[in-house]
Symmetry: C2
């Protein structure tokens, strides 16, 4: 019997999103999924121990269905007049992005996004059997304003700083889009804590703006799955209607609350990551002469040159394979000309980045096909 024939036709044809490798054995220098190289605030472990208590008795009870305390804390954290009604909490920001697709995208209602950007958007749109409007960057990675303005999308997803390039878009550019594009502009700010500017202050005067954040990157909490959106209360109400009523568990709510209460700790590790990043961006550009985008994120998108000075998809793949064989894990996106000749390297500790750098040196000195 063909069980798939019972499923919706588009579901039977789906291709799942490919997350970056999560090796289970130790010993890897893991620079492939933009995790934070430093542990979360010590207040997080403390809050978790408190929630678990002696015997985990609180875990027998359902969590607060709206993550109400966390909504209030997020509003206060961002200021700019934001209130609890402007916040929704997700099981990771992927949950939030999924809610946005479910509320605004369908076969007859397109969702838009740029290429390259976060590769989950088309996956979510395909699950929804939605129409896609893909707008490609050119190698400059500058915003194609006119094409976005004329996009038929009800909701347009823009990652800023962008992934996998690290290129950030200025608030002035976002306002230029909002002035011409008539739909919902979703600015996915997963990496904004590493940038010099963010879109939160625009929310007060732009009701069609949604800002999405995550605790997975700058907050060193990819393991607990907490993200959120900031938006007009009416948008939040729509998303709450589509949301699973207990989407965020008790421990994740407790951990996220603790993290937001320690801006001093996070300010320090973010500065450290930015300094490490800027040093290595400089090293790639000036030291190695590799084309590298200016990064406003916690990763670096660089185009390797081999010993002969050549670059391109096979060179990038060779560098990736060399690194991987030596347990240094980075990311390669081979499926498109704009990304295939690059590697995306998450910013690790100085020690991890030294291993990366030394391994790339070894690659350059290795005989071909080593």
């Amino acid at each position: 019997m063909n069980l798939s024939s019972l499923a919706l036709p588009h579901v039977a044809k789906l291709h799942a999103y490919t997350p970056g490798l999560q090796p289970s054995e130790p010993g890897w220098v893991k620079l492939n999924t933009n995790e934070c190289p430093y542990p979360p605030s010590p207040l997080v472990a403390e809050a978790l121990r408190r929630e678990i208590g002696e015997d985990g008795a609180s875990l027998r009870l359902y969590p607060n269905p709206k993550s109400s305390s966390l909504r209030a804390a997020v509003a206060q954290h961002h200021g700019h007049g934001l209130r609890e009604e402007n916040i929704i909490i997700g099981n990771g920001s992927d949950d939030i992005l999924n809610l946005l697709v479910r509320a605004f995208c369908a076969p007859q209602a397109a969702a838009g996004f740029t290429f390259p950007s976060y590769s989950l958007y088309p996956v979510l749109i395909e699950i929804q059997d939605g129409r896609s409007n893909v707008i490609e960057f050119d190698r400059s990675m500058r915003l194609p304003f006119d094409r976005i303005a004329s996009s038929p999308a009800k909701a347009f997803f823009l990652t800023s700083p962008n992934a996998p390039t690290g290129v950030a878009f200025a608030n002035a550019d976002l306002e230029r889009i909002l002035a011409t594009f008539p739909g919902l502009l979703v600015v996915d700010e997963a990496y904004a804590p590493f940038a010099w500017e963010n879109a939160v202050e625009l929310l007060a005067r732009h009701p069609r703006l949604v800002v999405v954040r995550t605790l997975s990157k700058a907050y060193a909490l990819a393991g607990i799955r907490v993200g959120y959106a900031l938006a007009h209360a009416e948008i939040i109400g729509l998303l709450d209607g589509v949301r699973d009523s207990y989407n965020v568990n008790r421990l994740s709510q407790a951990a996220a609350l603790a993290a937001l209460s320690d801006p001093g700790y996070y300010g320090a590790i973010i500065e450290k990551i930015k300094a490490t990043r800027d040093f290595h961006v400089g090293d790639f550009i000036q030291g190695r002469g590799w084309f590298t985008y200016e990064s406003s994120a916690n990763f670096i998108f660089t185009e390797p040159k081999n010993a002969a000075g050549g670059s391109g998809p096979t060179v990038a793949r060779a560098a990736y394979d060399f690194l991987c064989a030596r347990k240094v894990l980075v990311r390669h996106f081979p499926s498109h000309a704009l990304t295939a000749s690059f590697l995306r390297i998450s910013v690790g500790t100085d020690g991890e980045m030294l291993v990366l750098s030394d391994t790339l040196d070894a690659w350059l000195k290795a005989p071909p096909n080593a």
Copy 2:
């Protein structure tokens, strides 16, 4: 500006699922959401402390995207030849139910369910803009086989033991449905650990059967949001295509693994809950003369009679209000004749049930409108 006009028309009209009250202040006898009155296995708190470690460093890393160890443990726990490929883990069983609706239900593909049953099904179907096929029980709560057999649904959701009645359906009855109904039969076994039989053994010979489980009830882990489905590998593959890639966080995976490793502990608390339940079902029927369904779950669905011997929706509401005013929280479903004259009472500790019983005695002795 009307922001809702940007959303899909059916989303703008959604009514969110109403979860049972989760009072945040202490002092309540909470018998309203079928949580376990006993704490989880001590191995759970231990495993969580181990995962958190000294400083929560592991939380900076993404969880295993497939919850692979947990899939393997669930397969082993249930036996009957089940393998990892027959299991999918969800962020609560609500996540699993949502994946099933997204994979099998659409405007042109109905999902079916009985009334009464878990009130989340119609909510999930409405979010999907799907077609519903609702089949009502009569007061006997016996399965309407012929109507289910001729249901146009691609997937039919049957809760067994049923909520809010507690009535379980025998495997022979499920096989009778599978022999005539041509779609996917989803048996939502949230309460099966409290029943005398379950459908897991049927999976080997019925590829169109899906069994859904949760750790929220019998495992005392509503706070961590873990549920799962058991099904043919092809069905699991379809659901994985719709699933969020990191849907279950690290701590919940660790907690669930620990819980499954302690069947002795859970066997004992399940026996205790069943004994408390059976005592109080007897007390409602013989002691008070209230119509009460035989329960195979961890709750009791009973039809209160007031001091004058009357029953009905206003009597049930009066009992509910009297209990609630004295901080005893149960559940009342006023919107339908099959449920409106009943209360659903989660089975608590003996002490909590004594408070309930004493408060109902006080209600019976109170002057009208007290």
